[in-house]
């Protein structure tokens, strides 16, 4: 009897272990699946290049197709395999990181966001490029600040930037006219922005007055484009660079969360449900703005890329309809305007089997002609002097000058290795507030605790 009991207990435990283990451990392998598709080619110069493909935009896809043709023609016998990773923001990084963990799956060239690159460098995923860069005649064309974008604490450079961006408010002049707001709108404080949104809500029904990205599905776009555009307009910031400590418990953080709460609880933004759609980013650019359903958008310099002839939603009238104005600080203090900058870089994984060929491909990607083409089509702010001086680039868009001028006030994220984790806590706090699940104080307290556990209590400091 005893043995039978024991057997049954073991059986039941095994059954529970089985069922749970399937849930617990197999998620990794489902996430990994796409990499199995990257076939191994025997040729020594089969180069795999990975980038994020999400939403209807095809600028990068078309650009890479052109570069692939050019590279394969210049290097007979070589092939370039373009690996579009179809995933939303956070999933893209996860898939890329899983691919870079093994030499069997590591791509040769990867597209890395500057906010994540320090974390991936610390993880040992990337290869320093200094030996290549020192013999590269084009490196001198890059702005000093851009060269630093992918420089790690060890002083080595791990990525070649292909552009940067700034952020501001886009507003629809037609909707503003209907609401009786000025065509040349220059908000000076957060309240000016909110009151304009309230006016639109009242006078132009059927239109979303104001959009800011918020919550987990939009990933880093929520943290940077949404939250930090607010936080850096207060007296506080995320990171105190004098003390080299992360800021917790600041009034500015709570005020920023309060702004988020106001937008969603007063109904002057999208409904929280709309905002939590993982496709919100491409929806704003390709549907809401061109269809005249969004009054004010807190968004990036690149968004007009959607409306160009090569974009996902050609809309030539945008130059007349859409105005741009800087995001004001909380009460007009500081520099009065706020902008944040990021950008992407091309990098070579440490486990790439063809680093030399990969470097040649990056050189092709950054040949002057191609660099200018991507900066123009991809609606980038140029990081190269020759591209910035290029006539095609300068005349590419009416908004280019406005967004380039914002470079004088722009702020870079504290993109240290811990930043991605801190960023995740920001979007968790935003989502809790926007859905009404937590109060501002509770969400801020949870954020403080989480940051303390991520960076260690001794690496945090209180706000001003």
């Amino acid at each position: 009897m005893v043995t039978r009991k024991r057997f049954k207990a073991a059986g039941a435990l095994a059954a529970s272990a089985l069922l749970l283990a399937v849930a617990a451990c197999s998620q990794g392998s489902t996430t990994k699946q796409p990499e199995a598709g990257g076939g191994q080619s025997s040729g020594p110069a089969n180069i795999k290049i990975a980038y994020q493909q999400w939403g209807p935009g095809t600028t990068m896809k078309n650009f890479l197709a052109g570069v692939k043709t050019e590279y394969e023609a210049a290097n007979p016998g070589s092939t370039v395999e373009v690996l579009p990773i179809v995933a939303s923001e956070n999933d893209y990084y996860t898939k890329l990181q899983l691919m870079m963990r093994s030499p069997n799956t590591a791509p040769d060239v990867v597209y890395e966001d500057t906010f994540l690159i320090n974390s991936d460098i610390t993880a040992g995923y990337l290869r320093p490029l200094d030996d290549y860069l020192k013999d590269w005649d084009q490196w001198g064309q890059f702005e000093e600040s851009a060269k630093g974008a992918a420089k790690a604490l060890d002083g080595k450079t791990y990525g070649v930037p292909d552009g940067t961006d700034t952020r501001a408010l886009w507003y629809n002049k037609q909707i503003f006219a209907k609401a009786g707001l000025p065509a040349d709108w220059q908000p000076k404080t957060w309240d000016d922005v909110l009151s304009a949104a309230r006016t639109i809500k009242e006078k132009v029904p059927g239109v979303i007055p104001f959009n800011m990205y918020s919550g987990k599905p939009m990933g880093e776009a929520s943290a940077m484009q949404g939250f930090e555009m607010l936080l850096y307009g207060t007296k506080d910031s995320l990171y105190n660079s004098d003390q080299q400590k992360w800021v917790v418990g600041s009034q500015g953080f709570k005020d920023s969360l309060n702004f988020v709460k106001t937008v969603f609880s007063e109904g002057i933004g999208p409904t929280p449900k709309q905002a939590l759609d993982p496709n919100m980013g491409s929806k704003v650019g390709t549907e809401l703005i061109p269809e005249g359903k969004l009054g004010i958008a807190l968004d990036g310099s690149w968004i007009y890329g959607n409306w160009q002839k090569t974009g996902a939603k050609p809309w030539p009238q945008w130059t007349e309809v859409m105005g741009q104005t800087a995001m004001p600080s909380q009460d007009g203090g500081g520099k009065g305007k706020v902008s944040l900058s990021g950008g992407w870089t091309w990098a070579i994984p440490a486990k790439s089997k063809n680093p030399d060929a990969a470097w040649n491909l990056i050189k092709t990607l950054q040949a002057p002609k191609n660099a200018a083409k991507y900066a123009t089509d991809g609606a980038q702010i140029a990081v190269r002097k020759d591209v910035a001086a290029d006539e095609g680039y300068k005349s590419s868009a009416k908004s280019t000058q406005f967004f380039t001028d914002l470079v004088s006030v722009t702020v870079y994220r504290p993109a240290y290795a811990e930043y991605p984790k801190v960023s995740n806590e920001i979007i968790t706090a935003m989502e809790a507030v926007m859905t009404g699940q937590s109060t501002v104080d509770e969400a801020a307290k949870n954020y403080d605790e989480a940051v303390e556990s991520i960076v260690g209590k001794d690496k945090t400091t209180s706000g001003q």
């Binding site: 207990a9 059986g11 996430t31 610390t122 290795a417």
Partner: protein, 309 residues
């Protein structure tokens, strides 16, 4: 998979008593050895790896990816001190209670009882409909159900048609919506288990109970249920374990949101491990899930054993 587990754990009721010598037992194990080997490699292996990872700072990016170090109980301390984790535990228990123990179990039993009395046509129709939900792939079922519970979905259209106010179920009451979805999807399993158990009850016993004046609910409580109590416990154990680990259905319907209002433990684990890259912490949560499952199975096993005694 589930059916084989069911076969392995549901005792047939006729214990095979044996007093054979050890060598013969070992010989009997021989044909099983390839299966055991595979189980060890593909089942025990990952579990042991999970246990190891749960005590490290393993991550997909940052320091935890380059140098995996041992952090002792830090991950567990972090979990038990975190409000997101306790929220996930609470939602998991609620989800299991609502959808498995109450929903699937009673509905499955009810359907099985009613179907015994129904004529063949009704029986075939209901059986097909219920089992259809069970046969559908999880993602398809989740898609259908999110269309059903959506703001402009079937449920609200039906409610409006009879003059009742609707609400955005997936947004306003996500844990209720996913629980209902899980009931819809999983009831067939309980129904099949109970149908099989009920058909084992000899007709004579029921007839004599009726002769003695036990009718309706009395007969159900005093005769039928005690006769199938072993099936009830086995069924409860299986559906509880299944429901604790439901991931795809909830992920496809709500992604655990809005906020964390439907973030059960498997979703919380997925988010921490794969969206936020903290593999070590994620596996620690997986171990906690394992422990919760073990507690439930022990409770049910106790019941089964006292039945057998």
């Amino acid at each position: 998979m589930t059916t084989s587990v069911a076969a392995a754990t549901a005792p047939s009721g006729k214990p095979g008593r044996s007093g054979k010598p050890r060598a013969a037992n070992l010989l009997k194990m021989l044909p099983l050895s390839p299966a055991i080997g595979l189980m060890l490699v593909f089942l025990a292996g990952p579990i042991i790896y999970c246990i190891y990872a749960a005590f490290t700072n393993m991550a997909l990016t940052g320091t935890g990816a380059a140098n995996v170090t041992f952090v002792g109980l830090d991950n567990f301390r972090k979990a038990f001190g975190s409000s997101a984790f306790s929220n996930a535990i609470w939602l998991t228990l609620l989800f299991t209670l609502l959808s498995a123990i109450i929903g699937q179990n009673t509905l499955g039993l009810g359907l099985a009882l009613l179907m015994r009395r129904a004529n063949k046509l009704v029986r075939n129709f209901v059986g097909t409909a219920v089992i259809g939900a069970w046969v559908l792939p999880e993602v398809v079922a989740a898609y259908l159900l999110s269309a059903f519970f959506n703001d402009e979905g079937t449920l609200n259209v039906m409610l409006h048609a009879v003059g009742l106010p609707g609400q955005d179920w997936l947004y306003a009451a996500p844990i209720i919506a996913v629980s209902l979805a899980n009931i819809w999807r999983g009831t067939a399993f309980s129904m099949l288990v109970y149908s099989a158990a009920l058909s084992e009850i000899p007709k004579e016993i029921e007839e004599s109970a009726e002769m003695d004046g036990a009718a309706g609910s009395k007969r159900l409580v005093w005769v039928t249920l005690p006769m199938i109590s072993r099936a009830v416990l086995t069924n409860l154990m299986l559906i509880t374990l299944q429901t604790l680990s439901v991931f795809g259905l909830i992920y496809a319907m709500t992604r655990g949101g809005p906020g964390t209002k439907s973030q059960t433990l498997p979703l919380y684990m997925y988010e921490q491990a794969f969206s936020f890259s903290q593999i070590g912490y994620g596996t620690a949560i997986a171990l906690v899930m394992l422990a919760i499952g073990a507690v439930f199975s022990l409770i049910y096993l106790r019941g089964l054993n006292s039945e057998a005694a």
